[in-house]
């Protein structure tokens, strides 16, 4: 179950981590999970948020995602408000693998 219910201000998006791969995902307008934040559904509609929460809870119960929670979104930029969430969107500003072109063998 989610540990953080919606209690933010302004537009909201729903985020989580994939259970298997652990990577960050956001709920899309199609109510699917995407690793691409650009696809994230952003809304201020309480009724939609309730449906999003229900979807998050259901997928957490179905062991698809973990740690579902809403994030505040800046209305003008569409980016997350919190600095930490911006980093979850952008990924590391530095990763040795990216720097050296390393990748998983398989």
């Amino acid at each position: 179950m989610s540990t953080l219910k919606h209690k933010g201000k302004g537009p909201q998006s729903l985020t989580a981590n994939e259970l298997r791969e652990g990577l960050n995902v956001w709920l899309t307008a199609e109510f699917e999970w995407s690793r691409d934040y650009k696809m994230a559904l952003q809304t201020e509609d309480e009724a939609v948020m309730e449906k999003m929460q229900a979807k998050g809870d259901a997928d957490e119960n179905d062991n698809l995602v973990v740690g579902v929670y809403f994030i505040d979104v800046e209305p003008d930029t569409g980016l997350p408000v919190r600095y930490r969430e911006k980093f979850r969107v952008k990924g590391p500003s530095y990763d040795t693998a990216d720097e050296l072109g390393l990748k998983r063998a398989n």
């Binding site: 981590n17 259970l19 791969e21 408000v81 600095y83 911006k86 040795t96 990748k103 998983r104």
Partner: protein, 550 residues
């Protein structure tokens, strides 16, 4: 080095089977995340800012070449081709997938490794001097004691759910290369007036949001009393340590609030109730463990190597590397080699799988297959013949592991920070790189001399900023990173917590400010003074004025 006995093998293999089944149950929903989380953490598996992170225990920082090759294989097969050395001598992988972790744990178990005691409120992986067994400074090799503590603390039922995590470090020389005074318990192997070997036990040190330097619990503890006495200490902590507030739960808070005299009294009273012989191990068992750490078959060599001396004259780069990266060995004709993981363009402590394999090969060829990790996030080859040093250096150059900056201003301790860590408040890696680039000139680095810059990306202080000569704490306010500075910290046997200078800086401002600070120190230092010496002589005021001069 220590080899697993049948019990060690059984414990580790059982854990792999258990965790494999636990992952299966998690994936099919028989375990919820709330139920699974403590189980994965007991195996070192965290969920970080972007992905899972697996922390692998490297007990007392000792690795064999075989183990290093296995870590390289894991990095390639299951991660993104590199690993990260932590400030507790462990190895972290930043991108494993949950479904791969049981396979990784099996691969680790195959080379006598695991992720036990790298997370959770237990006694964590015991750390030690990376020069153990090699330096002439030590009374004895501290690793048998560290191994004894590993065996005692592994899966100890009474200490599996302590109020908070518990870190122990062991050294056996006056020079402290393990920051023992910043540990929950620091152990220094000492001799008493009668010449007997025992333990100086230090308690209540720690960094984090409340940095405290440890205090003496027992100035001399007879060797055979170590485990019973630590058992009594842990019992007192388990009984009185706070569980209502995680920020007040470490033993350092208990010792500070109780007072060292009263705390010592409580430990001694608890100790008096124990049956020490029920807990202490026999001299035979100690001897059995110690035998695993016997010296390798050193050759009898002259103290000086003509070949080595000739190469120092021939090869300037080699001479510079040798000046900074070598330490005195106890055996004539040998040297301790520090391999810097602080190149100017990569993250401190990161090492690629190819570099891991190269280090393993070099350890086989030149250092009796032994490797050490250091809390400074570097690597040590402990036993290299002086006559082999130049050949080793040339091979290190080929794999970009010949940075000659050990102990200098670019040998920066740096946590993963906001780039990876779920707890971080600001990035630390880009700042460390900016500082390293600013002081890239090797001549200038040497002119500055010994300097320890330590950077943490949050108040939890994994980057040891409290004990940096220059300590830097990354914070964030309204979406903007800023960096608070401490000066005068000391991670050595003269341990001290640095003092906060004042308001924070942006990254750009801070690099300029540190440069002014360093230039000022160069101007005012007296003969032979390191930065920390000048700071202790003059105090905060002049340094603070320079830091904020812009």
């Amino acid at each position: 080095m220590y080899r697993y006995d049948e019990f060690d093998h059984e414990i580790v293999q059982s854990r792999v089977k258990q965790f494999t089944a636990q992952v299966e149950r998690r994936l099919d929903g028989r375990l919820t995340e709330a139920q699974f989380r403590p189980l994965r953490l007991m195996n070192g598996l965290y969920l970080q800012l972007h992905a899972y992170m697996l922390r692998v225990a490297v007990p007392y920082g000792t690795l064999s070449s075989k183990q290093m090759r296995q870590l390289a294989m894991i990095a390639d097969k299951y991660d993104r081709g590199y690993g990260h050395i932590t400030t507790r001598q462990n190895v972290q992988f930043n991108w494993p997938e949950l479904t791969d972790v049981p396979h990784i744990l099996q691969d680790l178990a195959d080379v006598e490794m695991h992720g036990f005691q790298t997370s959770g409120n237990c006694i964590r992986n015991v750390t030690s001097d990376p020069y153990a067994g090699a330096t002439a400074e030590e009374i004895e090799d501290p690793r048998p004691t560290a191994e004894l503590l590993r065996q005692w603390s592994t899966l100890h039922p009474e200490f599996a759910f302590l109020p908070r995590k518990f870190k122990i470090a062991v050294v056996a020389s006056k020079t402290d290369r393990a920051v023992i005074r910043a540990h929950d318990i620091g152990i220094e192997i000492v001799k008493n007036e009668a010449g007997e070997t025992g333990y100086h036990v230090i308690v209540g040190g720690g960094l984090g949001r409340t940095p405290i330097i440890g205090q003496t619990l027992r100035a001399y503890l007879p060797r055979e009393e170590l485990l019973p006495y630590l058992e009594a200490t842990l019992r007192v902590y388990n009984r009185y340590g706070r569980r209502d507030n995680k920020y007040k739960a470490r033993i350092k808070i208990l010792v500070t609030e109780t007072g060292i005299e009263e705390f010592t009294k409580q430990v001694e009273e608890e100790y008096a109730t124990l049956e020490p012989l029920d807990i202490a191990v026999s001299p035979e068992e100690v001897a059995r463990i110690t035998a695993y750490f016997a010296d390798p078959d050193f050759e009898t060599l002259p103290a000086h190597s003509d070949a080595y001396k000739a190469k120092l004259l021939d090869d300037k780069d080699f001479a510079l590397w040798a000046e900074n990266n070598l330490a005195e060995h106890k055996q004539d004709g040998y040297a301790i080699v520090n391999i810097s993981l602080k190149p100017l363009d990569l993250a401190p402590g990161d090492i690629t799988a190819d570099q891991m394999r190269a280090v393993a090969d070099l350890a086989d060829e030149y250092s009796f297959s032994e490797i050490r990790t250091t809390h400074q996030q570097n690597i040590v080859l402990p036993h290299v013949k002086k006559s082999d040093l130049h050949a080793l250096f040339e091979k290190l150059q080929k794999v970009k592991l010949a940075a000659d900056n050990i102990g200098l201003i670019t040998d920066i301790i740096c946590c993963p920070g906001m780039d990876f860590c779920a707890l971080a408040t600001a990035r630390s890696i880009p700042l460390s790189q900016a500082i390293a680039q600013r002081f890239a000139d090797p001549v200038r680095q040497r002119a500055i001399g010994e300097m320890q810059i330590k950077i943490s990306g949050c108040i939890n202080a994994c980057g040891h900023h409290h004990v940096g000569h220059i300590g830097i704490l990354g914070l964030e306010k309204a979406g903007v990173e800023f960096y608070q500075v401490k000066l005068g910290g000391d991670a050595s046997e003269n341990a001290a917590v640095g003092q906060v200078t004042g308001p924070g800086f942006s990254q750009e401002e801070l690099v300029d400010s540190i440069e002014r600070l360093v230039d000022y120190y160069i101007d005012i230092r007296e003969d032979g003074e390191r930065f920390i010496d000048s700071f202790k002589r003059l105090g905060m005021a002049p340094f603070k004025e320079v830091l904020y001069a812009a």
